[in-house]
């Protein structure tokens, strides 16, 4: 089974395309992220993150990415940004913080780039 089924369709540099294969890989992790909308689940998650990940049937790699808050790895392992963002919000992180992570800049630098009319191609 290919884990990189987007290869060969089209490639836009620096642009993850959340497709069916990615969504298959990430289904359980994304479902877990969505569960964090409720305060009760957030409490349970924070009480024992590893156990919550195991109960949610994440793969060991996905669990590690979540425990490490390795946002790039979560995306690579099938996370949809809208779902990953639920975990970031719980941590008090903004979408600009995540933008900084994905682009190798700080949140402030990323925000400054957005205020300067956004980032452009190459």
């Amino acid at each position: 089974m290919s884990t990189d089924a987007t290869a060969g369709r089209f490639d836009v540099p620096g642009t993850p395309v959340f497709d069916g294969q990615t969504s298959r890989r990430g289904l359980r992790m994304n479902r877990m992220f969505m569960s964090l909308r409720s305060a009760e689940n957030r409490e349970r998650f924070l009480a024992d993150e590893a156990a919550y990940c195991r109960d949610s049937e994440l793969t060991p790699e996905q669990q590690q990415a979540v425990l490490d808050r390795d946002w790039q790895a979560m995306i690579d392992l099938g996370g949809s940004i809208f779902y990953v963002y639920k975990l970031a919000m719980m941590d008090g992180r903004s979408m600009q913080y995540l933008g900084g992570v994905f682009t190798g800049t700080t949140e402030e630098e990323f925000q400054a780039a957005m205020r300067a009319r956004g980032r452009r191609d190459g």
Partner: protein, 285 residues
């Protein structure tokens, strides 16, 4: 018969709703955006429809990835405002119009658009922010009942731009065949250019957005010809949401009159656009 009286295209960025909810519309980072909405809001206040159709997408709030309907329609009497993880927005729940929903559903299925039916649905910022852009101070109720029309823009393959435009045209016919004499406002939401993940996160393309804003009223067929790849390349992986504007536009007449438009950036990571069109203008013979 029912008649579409206007179409409103608008971004649905969550931070726009948050800025309104927290009274930050005069903040220097936001003022130009909200000033840009004012002329549209004034016109809309004078042209209140009996019912509105909001074309939008959910963002991990009302539906999850267990089921990914390409197109869907709400048929409920009431839609709760979703708790997206930080409490509900302090805005009214959305009252539905099940009779119109079921008429649209039947008509669209007959035309080959096999929509998924949502008998229950929590609506997220994708639907409530456009309602706020239209009506910033709704009090305890939105101006009219609302029919939600959902589009998958999150998981590839999204419907093509051409298919969205065709759905809009079928929607226009479905509205026209509704036996009740009601006026309809239609909202196409999402965009404009933005990308949230990847090394290209933060990507904005003002030239593309300007072209889109200039063209949606006059030559939607040209926009409907854009491929998914082209849309993702030009507007960013999340900017592909703009296909939902084409559903709105397709439901309108061939000739529409632009009432107002405005472009602003950034609304957090997104270029925010608004375009309001009057549908009651003379048509070519």
């Amino acid at each position: 018969m029912a008649e579409v009286i206007w179409g409103l295209a608008t971004s649905h960025v969550p931070s726009i709703g948050a800025a309104m909810d927290r009274g930050r519309t005069e903040d220097p980072n936001w003022k130009d955006l909200f000033d840009g909405y004012a002329p549209a809001q004034a016109w809309l206040a004078e042209h209140r429809p009996d019912v509105a159709i909001v074309v939008y997408n959910d963002h991990a709030n009302g539906i999850d990835l267990d089921i990914v309907p390409t197109f869907g329609i709400g048929t409920a009497e009431r839609y709760r405002v979703a708790d997206e993880g930080f409490g509900q927005r302090p805005v009214p729940d959305v009252v539905g119009d099940p009779d119109l929903s079921l008429h649209l559903l039947e008509s669209l299925v007959d035309e080959g658009f096999d929509l998924t039916v949502f008998q229950e649905l929590d609506v997220d910022h994708g639907l409530t922010v456009p309602l706020s852009v239209w009506t910033p101070d709704p009090g305890d109720a939105w101006p009219c009942p609302v029919v939600p029309l959902l589009v998958n823009v999150i998981q590839y393959p999204q419907p093509t731009a051409a298919r969205c435009y065709a759905l809009g045209q079928a929607l226009g016919r479905a509205i026209a065949s509704y036996p009740e004499d009601v006026t309809v406002g239609i909202l196409g939401t999402g965009g404009m250019s933005h990308q949230l993940a990847g090394a290209r996160a933060g990507f904005i393309n003002p030239e593309f957005d300007t072209m889109w804003l200039d063209t949606i009223g006059t030559d939607p067929v040209r926009l409907a010809a854009l491929s998914r790849e082209e849309l993702i390349r030009q507007a960013g992986s999340e900017g592909i949401e703009l296909i939902m504007w084409l559903i709105m536009r397709g439901a309108m007449n061939e000739q529409v009159a632009r009432v107002h438009s405005h472009y602003f950036l950034p609304a957090s990571n997104t270029a925010a656009g608004i375009a309001l069109f009057d549908n009651r203008v003379p048509q070519p013979a």
